[in-house]
């Protein structure tokens, strides 16, 4: 499988954010997108997810399902957690599993992020890091080839960061792809890097 991004451009609120972006990402590879505040990292991820319109360019997931957009084969982990405070931890996860269609089961997914003991607690009582981990459980629960992670380590404590890195390695090992926006290291050994900048982009 290969994510191909050709000549992508982004205009938001009337301003050019980036233009002429090209990269390919193969199965088992991770790409870390870096750049200063406002460079367009989050915008790029949202564009791949299909959440904002492409101003120009083309995005294809070669080898993926023919009748689905790249966004429909991707998981998006943004700054917002998409959790409902009045539902319990397992109800929250169960909903997204139902909506995205099947998966490995609630128990193992919660276990993978260390939330199994809290399964029946309403999400309102979770701390920021715990909420984040519940979001990550979604990625584990429903297999989708492409993970789009926006500053995935934020709000996570040390142990959770290690656990996340392990999950990401597992995903890559089974042929998945990761595009992550980050300001620092995210725990992968040698990811490719895409630097968004004022003077255009560099693929490192």
């Amino acid at each position: 499988m290969q994510l191909i991004c050709e000549n992508l451009a982004c205009v938001r609120g009337g301003r050019d954010v980036f233009a002429g972006l090209n990269f390919n990402l193969n199965s088992g590879e991770a790409l870390v997108v870096t750049g200063r505040n406002g460079a367009g990292k989050s915008s790029l991820l949202r564009m791949i997810a299909g959440l904002i319109a492409m101003t120009a360019g083309k995005l294809t997931l070669k080898g993926g399902e023919a009748d689905a957009t790249p966004g429909e084969q991707a998981h998006y982990l943004g700054h917002l957690d998409a959790l409902k405070p009045s539902l319990s931890v397992s109800e929250n996860l169960a909903f997204w599993m139902g909506y995205f269609g099947g998966g490995v089961g609630i128990e193992p997914a919660l276990d993978a992020v260390g939330l199994a003991p809290l399964a029946s607690l309403p999400a309102a009582y979770l701390s920021a890091g715990q909420r984040r981990r519940l979001s990550i459980a979604r990625l584990v629960a429903v297999p989708r080839p492409l993970w789009l992670l926006d500053e995935p380590t934020s709000a996570l404590d040390q142990q959770s960061q290690l656990r996340l890195a392990e999950l990401m390695r597992g995903h890559l090992d089974t042929g998945g792809m990761i595009v992550a926006a980050a300001h620092g290291p995210i725990g992968l050994d040698s990811p490719r890097e895409l630097k968004l900048g004022r003077r255009g982009t560099e693929l490192l």
Partner: protein, 246 residues
């Protein structure tokens, strides 16, 4: 110049700069001509001189409906082709359509008082015009509320199309409603057989109002394009200043 060329905002502004004086002049001439004919038109045997109100009332009624049509076409341009000029055309049309609908309502009421003895009856045609006015006001409210022009235009386009589907339904239902429980028969339509001596002034006035509509619409579109340019440049200014310091 081909029509397709006009689809570029800069070219469109150049076109408006050149064409606007001619449109304005044609409007003025048509109005002068139409008003002279209006003044000399004979009175209606039933309604007397009040029939002169018709020369404003009917053209503005027609135009207020046409204007929603313009907005619907622009809406397709916005949603299907995402064309910026279509955004601008829709936005510029809304206040003009509102104003014409308002004129139609006011002149109709002012006509109604001498002919029917009241300013307002809940007659089907009047009422559906009032609902059209409300729809226009909703449209203005939507544009007013949207702080981002692009997002506002796309929302307005949806509303314009939904409205275009709904206006016939509303008209039909209002007619049903009114014939169901007709009030004490205040409403009596007069002067239905249109005599050529009335028809001609009416047509010329309709032409004049149509020209006025396009003159205003083009001018308002130009203003809107400029307003978006200003917005872009202000954002660039903020961005550049931020860049200069990093």
């Amino acid at each position: 110049m081909a029509v397709i060329d006009l689809a570029n905002p800069t070219r469109f502004i150049n076109f408006v700069n050149r064409a606007l004086p001619w449109f304005a002049a044609a409007t003025a001439i048509a109005f002068a001509f139409g008003l002279v004919l209006t003044m000399n038109a004979p009175d209606d045997y039933q309604q007397g001189a009040t029939v002169k109100i018709m020369y404003i009332h009917v053209p503005t009624a027609w135009l207020s409906m046409m204007c929603w049509g313009v907005m619907s076409v622009a809406a397709l341009g916005t949603l299907v082709w995402r064309h910026p000029l279509a955004d601008v055309a829709g936005k510029a049309a809304a206040p003009i359509g509102t104003a014409f609908t308002f004129i139609c309502l006011i002149t109709g009421s002012l006509w109604g008082r001498p002919t029917w003895g009241t300013y307002w009856v809940w007659d089907a045609r009047l009422t559906s015009m009032l609902v059209l006015f409300l729809l226009y006001l909703g449209m203005l409210a939507l544009y007013w509320t949207a702080e981002d022009p692009g997002r506002g235009s796309r929302a307005a386009a949806i509303l314009a199309l939904v409205g275009a589907i709904n206006i016939p339904i509303i008209k039909f239902s209002v007619e049903y409603w009114n014939t169901l429980h007709q009030p004490a028969s205040l409403f009596r339509k007069g002067g239905s057989a249109i005599d050529p001596s009335i028809l001609w002034p009416l047509l010329i006035m309709a032409l004049a109002f149509t020209l006025l509509f396009f003159t205003l619409h083009f001018a308002a579109m130009r203003n809107e394009i400029l307003r978006r340019r200003v917005r872009t440049m202000q954002m660039m200014q903020a961005q550049e200043l931020a860049g200069a310091q990093t």
